[in-house]
Structures are given as structure tokens and as C-alpha cells.
């Protein structure tokens, strides 16, 4: 059904059935591209109404400039308790009302809590983790190469990397890595029965709580020790707060990073000239640029940044009313031609540093400095060590996470 510009812009003329459902499906055979319907809406204008799972009709913002302005606007709230907040699903709406972590707060409370934990994620701090991350990646590749072919790169490599890195970040003793990884996998895996997932979460939080206690007595050089001595000992955070934070970091940084590792590998294998540039380069700057370009091109957080307007806001002539929901589709903003020329192409030589894959505004991803180092090490090592890495299945056989909160692949059969 074709929409003319006047159909979209004329609110009084728009009938219920002209408002498209969001999210939309990707095109078959184009697993790396945002849904064509999103591109069409972006071409027509910066914002339009969409219909969600619960029948609500928030504004969908598709263009880079408008998203950037709104995400940085103090009249735009991340607080999920507002009636107009556009929740992703019934499940997330329920969890959001129970667990008011700082990701669903506005400033000044959001800033107060976030600043308690930003120290360990400073660029210099995560850089010092690079040698340890390199050892983790090399060890997993050693195991992969010693094992059977074909192998599932998701289970053998993409999932273990972030959980072992989180172990390093939190200061989990090496002897406890197996326990930690086992429960992390159960928690992250979509096929885990709910009671087992709950048991895994309880086990992890209990373990982290105990570990915080040990770090208070004998601090080491890790995030839990640092926050225990700086924030728990002073009474700003409780032991349980810190254990919960450890769990939050694990969940937030686990599937996202794992999906970038696996999906990035598929994308590079499908673009051999780009893969060769990454594989054959000695230049850390090129690897870093490739990481930013893959973040932009893949935009794995594909459910949109969710907000609600606290006041009337003019967006290019259209008025967003106080209480209206906003969905910023950052995946399609990363394909905005006015910012990224030839946006549909994967080009590791492009300067993609302005991408919004980590979002924008005060809630921009806390873990992004760590994610960058992990991905630089992974992309800079995997293809160099396994130069003949190849898919062991056709692209059409690979199960993509179309319905996932975060996009990626469930399995990635590879050989070499």
C-alpha cells in the first residue's frame, strides 16, 4: 500500500488502518539490513505514528538528526512508569515496574547513580584489561581449533568471550569460572526453562553477594573491589545493590557482545574484501574503524530507544504532545544517507564514529568502552588465526534472531 506524503502528514485524514505495525519484518535474503518499511518511512519524513503490541500509537523517529536532538532533550524521559511510555512487550513492561534500575530513571537521580559506577569503565581502565582479554580470546581459539569441525561459533566462542571478560572485570576467581559461565549461559539462553533461569539468577546473585563480602575484606584490582571499597564501605550502595549491579552488567554485556561477535563474523564472511582488509591489517586504527563500522552496519539493538515526552516538543513542524510515546529507531538512523554516504554498504575504511548503535543522550550504553576493546581484540584476532574460516551452512540456513530483543544468530556452523 503506497503512502503519499500528505497521507502520512495529515493527522486528521489518517485512519486507524493506515498506521503501520512496529516492529516490521526484514526482507528475506537481506539479513543485515533494517526492514524496508522502516527505510520507506525514513524517506517520507523524520517521524510518523506506528502501532505497538498493545495497540498504543507512539511516534516513530527514523532520521539521525531528529533522534540525536530528542535523545539529548531534557523534555524527553526514559522513565517507564509514565503512562505513555512505549514498552517493548508485556514481559518487559512488567519487569520495568518491578526493577527500577538507573536505566529507567531521569536526571538528577539517574546521574547520581550512574556516576557511582562509571569510574571502572573509563577508557584507560578498560585499556588495561586488553592483555587479559587477548589471553581469553586466544585460549578459546586454541580450544576451537583443537576440536571437531564443523563447530558452532556461538557456543564455542561468541558466548564464552563476554562471560569470561565479565569474570575478569568483576574479579571472579579463576577457580569459579566454570560455575559462573554455566549459570550465565542458562540465564542468557532463550531455551532455558523459566524455573532453571530463575535458579541460575539466584545462584549468581548469591555468589556475587558472597564475593562482594570477600572483596570488602581483601580488595583486589577489579570492579567489585573498587566499588565495594568506594561505595559499599561508605554506605552509598548496599552489598545487594552491588551484587545486582554485577548481574546487570553480566546480562547487559553478554548477549549484545556475543551477537556482535557472531553476526559480525557472518557479515565479514559475506563481504570477503572487507574480511581481507580486517584479517591482513596490522594497524589497530583500522581494526578500531572496522569495529565502529560493524556496530553501525549491524545495529543489533533493533527494538528502538523508548522514551516519553514530558512537554510539547516541535519536531520539524510536527508537534509531539506531552505524554506521547517516542520510539527512536536507531538501526535505521545508522543508515541515514545524510550522515553516512552509501550507508547501505559495509565499508571498514569509513569513519563511522558518529553512529548511534550504543544510543545517544545520557543513557548511552555504559559498557561501550569495554565492548569496543572486546570487539577490537576479537575481530583483530579471530580471522588472522583462522584465515580459512568459512560458513558450514548456507546463509539461508543460519537462524537469525528476528524476534530477539537484540539481533544476532542462534547458531553459527563454521569450518576451516
Amino acid at each position: 500500500m503506497a503512502h503519499s506524503l500528505t497521507d502520512i502528514r495529515d493527522r486528521t485524514g489518517t485512519t486507524e488502518r493506515e498506521i503501520p505495525q512496529y516492529p516490521m519484518p526484514r526482507a528475506a535474503g537481506c539479513p543485515f539490513d533494517p526492514p524496508p518499511a522502516l527505510r520507506d518511512l525514513q524517506a517520507e519524513g523524520p517521524l510518523s505514528k506506528v502501532r505497538l503490541w498493545d495497540g498504543s500509537t507512539p511516534w516513530l523517529v527514523t532520521r539521525y538528526a531528529e533522534q540525536r536532538a530528542l535523545l539529548a532533550d531534557p523534555r524527553v524521559s526514559a522513565d517507564g512508569s509514565h503512562p505513555g511510555y512505549p514498552h517493548v512487550s508485556a514481559n518487559l513492561k512488567f519487569r520495568s515496574t518491578r526493577d527500577a534500575s538507573f536505566i529507567r530513571m531521569d536526571d538528577p537521580e539517574h546521574a547520581r547513580i550512574r556516576r557511582m559506577v562509571t569510574g571502572p569503565f573509563a577508557v584507560r581502565q578498560v585499556e588495561s584489561m586488553r592483555p587479559g582479554i587477548q589471553r581469553i580470546v586466544d585460549g578459546l581459539i586454541d580450544d576451537l581449533l583443537a576440536g571437531p569441525k564443523p563447530a558452532d561459533l556461538v557456543q564455542a566462542f561468541a558466548l564464552p568471550v563476554p562471560s569470561l571478560v565479565i569474570c575478569q572485570l568483576l574479579g571472579v576467581p579463576y577457580a569459579d569460572h566454570d560455575f559462573f559461565q554455566r549459570n550465565s549461559r542458562l540465564l542468557i539462553n532463550r531455551d532455558t526453562p523459566p524455573d532453571q533461569a530463575q535458579a541460575a539468577q539466584t545462584a549468581l546473585i548469591g555468589y556475587l553477594d558472597q564475593l562482594v563480602g570477600e572483596k570488602l575484606a581483601h580488595p583486589g584490582d577489579d570492579l567489585l573491589s573498587r566499588l565495594a571499597t568506594e561505595r559499599v564501605a561508605t554506605g552509598e550502595l548496599t552489598r545487594h545493590d552491588l551484587a545486582s549491579l554485577g548481574r546487570l552488567l553480566l546480562v547487559a554485556g553478554h548477549e549484545t557482545t556475543a551477537n556482535m561477535i557472531a553476526l559480525g563474523t557472518v557479515a565479514l564472511l559475506q563481504h570477503p574484501d572487507q574480511l581481507a582488509a580486517v584479517r591482513d591489517s596490522d594497524d589497530p586504527a583500522l581494526i578500531a574503524a572496522a569495529v565502529e563500522e560493524l556496530l553501525r552496519y549491524l545495529s543489533i539493538v533493533h527494538s528502538g530507544r523508548r522514551r516519553v515526552a514530558l512537554a510539547d516538543i516541535d519536531v520539524g513542524g510536527q508537534v509531539v504532545r506531552q505524554g506521547d510515546g517516542l520510539v527512536m529507531a536507531n538501526d535505521v538512523a545508522n543508515r541515514d544517507e545524510s550522515v553516512f554516504s552509501g550507508a547501505g554498504e559495509l565499508d571498514v575504511h569509513r569513519d563511522a564514529r558518529q553512529h548511534v548503535a550504543f544510543g545517544f543522550g545520557v543513557h548511552q550504553c555504559l559498557g561501550q568502552p569495554l565492548a569496543r576493546v572486546e570487539l577490537q581484540v576479537v575481530y583483530g584476532t579471530l580471522y588472522r588465526r583462522i584465515p580459512t574460516l568459512a560458513l558450514a551452512a548456507g546463509l539461508e540456513e543460519i537462524p537469525f534472531k528476528h524476534d530477539g530483543l537484540v539481533y544476532g544468530v542462534y547458531e553459527l556452523p563454521v569450518t576451516w
Binding site: L71, A72, T118, A122, V123, Q354, V362, Q368, P369, R372
Partner: protein, 67 residues
Amino acid sequence: MTVRVSVDQDRCIASGQCVRTAPSVFGQREEDGVVTLQQADPPDGLTKDVKLAAAVCPALAIAVSER
């Protein structure tokens, strides 16, 4: 173009984007990673990097003006 740079530490969310973009101009303080300005009047060769740093700052905490 010759520029002057200023930062707003109250707005900063310690993303580190500026440090990665222009490491000789921006730093992060030890306690919470909030931005520190190493040089307010950087040499002309850094103008492009500094402008990009202001553009990628998620908190719009960096101001760049012609001097």
C-alpha cells in the same frame, strides 16, 4: 580554523567518546571518569578531531568555538 574548547562536567556521562576521538585534548578523572580538559586552545591540526568529539559527545557537554 583555530578553536577554543570548553567542557561541562555536570552534563558529562563519562562515555569516554571524546578521549577516544581527541586523546591529547580530553581526559577522564579518576573517581568517576568525568571529562577533564587537557588543553582549551588546541593546535589547528586537532580542530577536526575536536569538532568530531563535540558531535559524538552523548551529553552535549563539549563546546567548540572559533577563537
